[in-house]
C-alpha cells in the first residue's frame, strides 16, 4: 500500500508541477497548430495514386450493373463504371461538389452506340442520391430553362440532345452527342427499361405546390440542398423565380421541424445578411411580421409562418420585395 500523503504539498512542489503541466500544455498546442497546417500533398503522395496517374473507376458492382438495362438498338461500348463519393470527381471533376453536398451515394455510367440514329453516341448517368429530395435537388439545380417538360415522370424534361429525370432516389441523365427531332422518342425504349429496373420509391410532394402560383415562372422551382445564398448550414431551401411588380425576384421557402427552429434560422439568416452589409429597412408600409433588408439596389425579405421560413432574395426594388413577401405570407397562412 502506498503511503498516504500526510502533509500539504509545498509551494515549490506545486510550482514545479504547474511548470511541467504548462510545458505539456504548450506542447499540445504546438502539436494542434502543426496538425492544422497539414500539407495535403502528403495525402496525394501516400494514396495508391502516388504515381500520380489515376486508374479507371472501380469495378462495376453487380447491383449497379443490374440497374442499367440492356436494350436492343443500344450497344454498350464498355462495362458499367461505378463511382462513389471518394472518386466522383474522377468522372465529373468540377461538378462533384454539387452532388456530394446533396447526399450523393453512387454513380453508375455506361456509354452506348445507337442503331437509330445510326452511330449516335449515348452516355447514361445513373446517380443514386439516397433520398428523393436529394435527387430533386440536383435535378432542379441544373434544369435547363426553356426545356420541354415530359409527362412520364413527375420530374422530367428533355433538351434537343438529352433527357433528364428523377425516379425515387435516382437522378438520371441520358446524353446524346447530337440534336435529334424528338429525343424522348429516340430514347424511349431505354428509358422505359431503366425506370422498370429502378427500385420503386415515392417521389415526394410537388415542390411547385409549396409556392403561390401568381407570378411564378414555370419550371423555375429549385432545391438548394446545402448552404443556400452562401450561408453555411442553410440547407434544404426551395427557391422559385417570380415576375412581380414589373421585375424579377427570387422567392425562397424552407420547412423546419417546428416554429422555434424556423424562427431561429430566420434570425441567423438576418444576422448573416447584416454581417454582409445589409441594413434593415424602416418603412410604415412594411408589416410587423415581415423583415426587409437592403444593400445597394437589392432587397431581401424574411417571413416566418409557423414552421416555415420564407422570403425574397435579391429583389430589385422595395415594392417587388414587399409584394412578393406578402403574397408568400398570405399563401402560407392560408395553408395553416
Amino acid at each position: 500500500m502506498p503511503a498516504k500523503r500526510t502533509r500539504p504539498v509545498s509551494t515549490a512542489q506545486q510550482l514545479t508541477g504547474l511548470i511541467i503541466l504548462a510545458t505539456l500544455g504548450l506542447i499540445l498546442v504546438w502539436l494542434l497548430v502543426q496538425q492544422s497546417r497539414f500539407n495535403p500533398a502528403v495525402t496525394a503522395l501516400q494514396t495508391p495514386r502516388s504515381t500520380a496517374v489515376a486508374k479507371a473507376g472501380p469495378a462495376a458492382s453487380p447491383q449497379a450493373t443490374a440497374l442499367v438495362p440492356q436494350v436492343a438498338g443500344f450497344t454498350p461500348l464498355g462495362p458499367v463504371q461505378n463511382f462513389g463519393p471518394e472518386n466522383l470527381s474522377d468522372k465529373i471533376d468540377g461538378k462533384a461538389e454539387l452532388y456530394l453536398s446533396a447526399g450523393f451515394r453512387t454513380l453508375a455510367v455506361q456509354s452506348f452506340t445507337l442503331t437509330q440514329p445510326a452511330g449516335a453516341y449515348l452516355e447514361v448517368f445513373l446517380y443514386d442520391m439516397g433520398e428523393p429530395q436529394n435527387a430533386y435537388a440536383v435535378f432542379s439545380s441544373q434544369r435547363r430553362p426553356g426545356s420541354t417538360g415530359l409527362s412520364f415522370r413527375p420530374n422530367a424534361y428533355a433538351t434537343t440532345n438529352a433527357l433528364f429525370f428523377t425516379a425515387g432516389n435516382f437522378y438520371v441523365e441520358m446524353i446524346l452527342d447530337r440534336a435529334v427531332p424528338d429525343v424522348a422518342a429516340v430514347l424511349e425504349p431505354f428509358t422505359t427499361a431503366l425506370v422498370a429496373n429502378l427500385p420503386a420509391a415515392a417521389e415526394g410532394g410537388n415542390p411547385a405546390a409549396l409556392f403561390p402560383q401568381r407570378g411564378l415562372v414555370a419550371d423555375s422551382v429549385r432545391l438548394q440542398a446545402a448552404d443556400a445564398f452562401g450561408l453555411a448550414g442553410f440547407n434544404n431551401v426551395y427557391t422559385a423565380e417570380y415576375s412581380v411588380a414589373g421585375a424579377q425576384a427570387t422567392a425562397f421557402l424552407a420547412q423546419r421541424p417546428d416554429a422555434a427552429q424556423a424562427a431561429a434560422e430566420a434570425r441567423r439568416y438576418q444576422e448573416f445578411l447584416q454581417a454582409n452589409g445589409y441594413r434593415a429597412v424602416q418603412n410604415p408600409t412594411i408589416p410587423e411580421n415581415i423583415t426587409i433588408l437592403t444593400l445597394e439596389d437589392f432587397y431581401e425579405a424574411i417571413v416566418v409562418v409557423e414552421q416555415t421560413l420564407a422570403g425574397v432574395h435579391e429583389a430589385p426594388s422595395l415594392a417587388a420585395a414587399l409584394d412578393l413577401a406578402k403574397t408568400i405570407q398570405e399563401a402560407l397562412t392560408r395553408k395553416r
Partner: protein, 338 residues
C-alpha cells in the same frame, strides 16, 4: 565518520532529499522523452516517395519581347475555328512570330472528360488540328499534345476527338504515365508543395501553347486558360476545389506559356464544366489569341457574359504577377467576322 541524514520530516518521512531525488527523476524522464522526440523529429516532413528532384515550377516558355504590357492579343470573330485562329495569328505576325524552325511544341488541351466534341466540354479537335498544322508550317520539329484527365485518359482523348485530330496532322499524343510525374514546390506557393505534376512532358520542349475552351465552372465560376493548367496536376487534386481561387492563382505562376488560344467560338455558359445538354452552349463567335494567360481569361469572362468580380482568381493571378487583368493594355486587335 557518521552519516548525516537529512532531518526526517515531522510527518511521513518525506525529506527535502526525497523531493529533490524525485524531481531529478522526473526531469530525467522529461529530458529523455524530449530528446527522443527531438531525435525522431523530421523537420522536413514526409518526403516525396519518388527520389525525383522537386521542381520549383514547370517553366517559363514566354517570349522575352512579349512579356508584360509588350504582350500581344488578337480577338478574331467568327464560327469557323480554323479560320479564326489563322486570322487572329496573322494579325499578330503569324505563327512564325511565336514558333521558329526546330521548335518542339507542347500543346496542352483540355481533355478532362470523355465527351463528344459537340458538347463543348473539351478543346475542340478542329482547333487542335488547325493549331498543330500551323506549328508545323512554322517549322516546328515536333508537336506534342497532352493532358491529365483523371478518368481513363485514352478514352477521354478518343471520345473528345482529340486523339484523331492529333493523328491527322502528325502531332504526338502523350498520355499521362507514372514516369512523367515529378513533384513541384512553388516557391511562393501555399498549396503547391511537393505536388506531383506532369513535368515529364516538358522534356526537350521549347514552346508551350494552351488550347482552352470557354466554360462555366460550378466551383470556379469559369474554366478557361488558367484553369486548363490544372490538368498538369496529378494526385488527388480535387481537394484543391476547397480553395479553387487560390489554386488557380498558383497555377498561373506554375507555368508561363508561349501562347494562349482561348476558344470562345461556342461557350458553355451554364452547367459547367461538364455540361451535357446542347442548350448549355451558346454561339459566342470569338477566338482569343494572347501571350498573356490572365488577359486571355479576362476576355473570356466577357465572352461568358460575366464581370471580373464574378471570377476572383483573375485579379488574384494579376496581383501575383502572372499577367494583366486589364486586357486593354495589350491593345487587342479585333478582327471582325468575314
Amino acid at each position: 565518520m557518521s552519516t548525516t541524514a537529512a532531518p526526517p520530516s515531522q510527518e511521513g518521512g518525506f525529506t527535502r532529499r526525497d523531493f529533490l531525488r524525485r524531481l531529478g527523476y522526473a526531469a530525467a524522464v522529461t529530458v529523455a522523452a524530449g530528446g527522443l522526440g527531438l531525435w525522431r523529429h523530421d523537420a522536413q516532413g514526409p518526403v516525396v516517395q519518388s527520389p525525383k528532384k522537386v521542381l520549383s515550377g514547370l517553366g517559363d516558355f514566354s517570349l522575352p519581347n512579349f512579356r508584360g504590357e509588350a504582350g500581344k492579343m488578337a480577338i478574331a470573330e467568327g464560327l469557323d475555328r480554323a479560320q479564326t485562329v489563322g486570322r487572329g495569328l496573322e494579325a499578330l505576325g503569324g505563327m512564325g512570330a511565336f514558333i521558329q524552325a526546330g521548335d518542339s511544341v507542347l500543346i496542352k488541351v483540355n481533355a478532362a472528360f470523355a465527351t463528344p466534341p459537340a458538347l463543348g466540354a473539351t478543346t475542340h479537335p478542329e482547333l487542335l488540328a488547325a493549331v498543330a498544322k500551323l506549328c508545323f508550317q512554322a517549322g516546328a520539329s515536333q508537336v506534342l499534345v497532352t493532358d491529365n484527365p483523371i478518368n481513363d485518359p485514352l478514352t477521354c482523348f478518343r471520345i473528345s476527338g482529340l486523339e484523331a485530330a492529333a493523328k491527322q496532322v502528325g502531332a504526338q499524343l502523350i498520355l499521362p504515365r507514372p514516369a512523367l510525374f515529378q513533384p513541384v514546390s512553388l516557391p511562393t506557393g501555399r498549396l503547391l508543395q511537393q505536388w506531383p505534376t506532369l513535368a515529364g512532358v516538358f522534356t526537350g520542349v521549347s514552346k508551350v501553347i494552351l488550347l482552352s475552351p470557354v466554360k462555366d465552372h460550378q466551383r470556379a465560376g469559369a474554366s478557361m486558360t488558367l484553369k486548363n493548367i490544372y490538368g498538369f496536376l496529378g494526385g488527388r487534386r480535387n481537394i484543391f476545389h476547397q480553395d479553387i481561387n487560390g489554386i488557380i492563382t498558383e497555377l498561373a505562376l506554375l507555368l508561363k506559356p508561349t501562347l494562349c488560344i482561348l476558344d470562345g467560338t461556342v461557350a458553355m455558359v451554364t452547367n459547367g464544366p461538364t455540361g451535357g445538354s446542347l442548350s448549355d452552349l451558346k454561339e459566342t463567335g470569338a477566338m482569343v489569341i494572347a501571350t498573356d494567360p490572365v488577359a486571355a481569361d479576362a476576355v473570356g469572362v466577357e465572352i461568358l457574359g460575366r464581370r471580373l468580380d464574378d471570377i476572383p482568381y483573375i485579379r488574384m493571378a494579376a496581383a501575383a504577377g502572372a499577367g494583366l487583368a486589364d486586357y486593354e493594355r495589350l491593345k487587342p486587335v479585333v478582327i471582325p467576322a468575314k
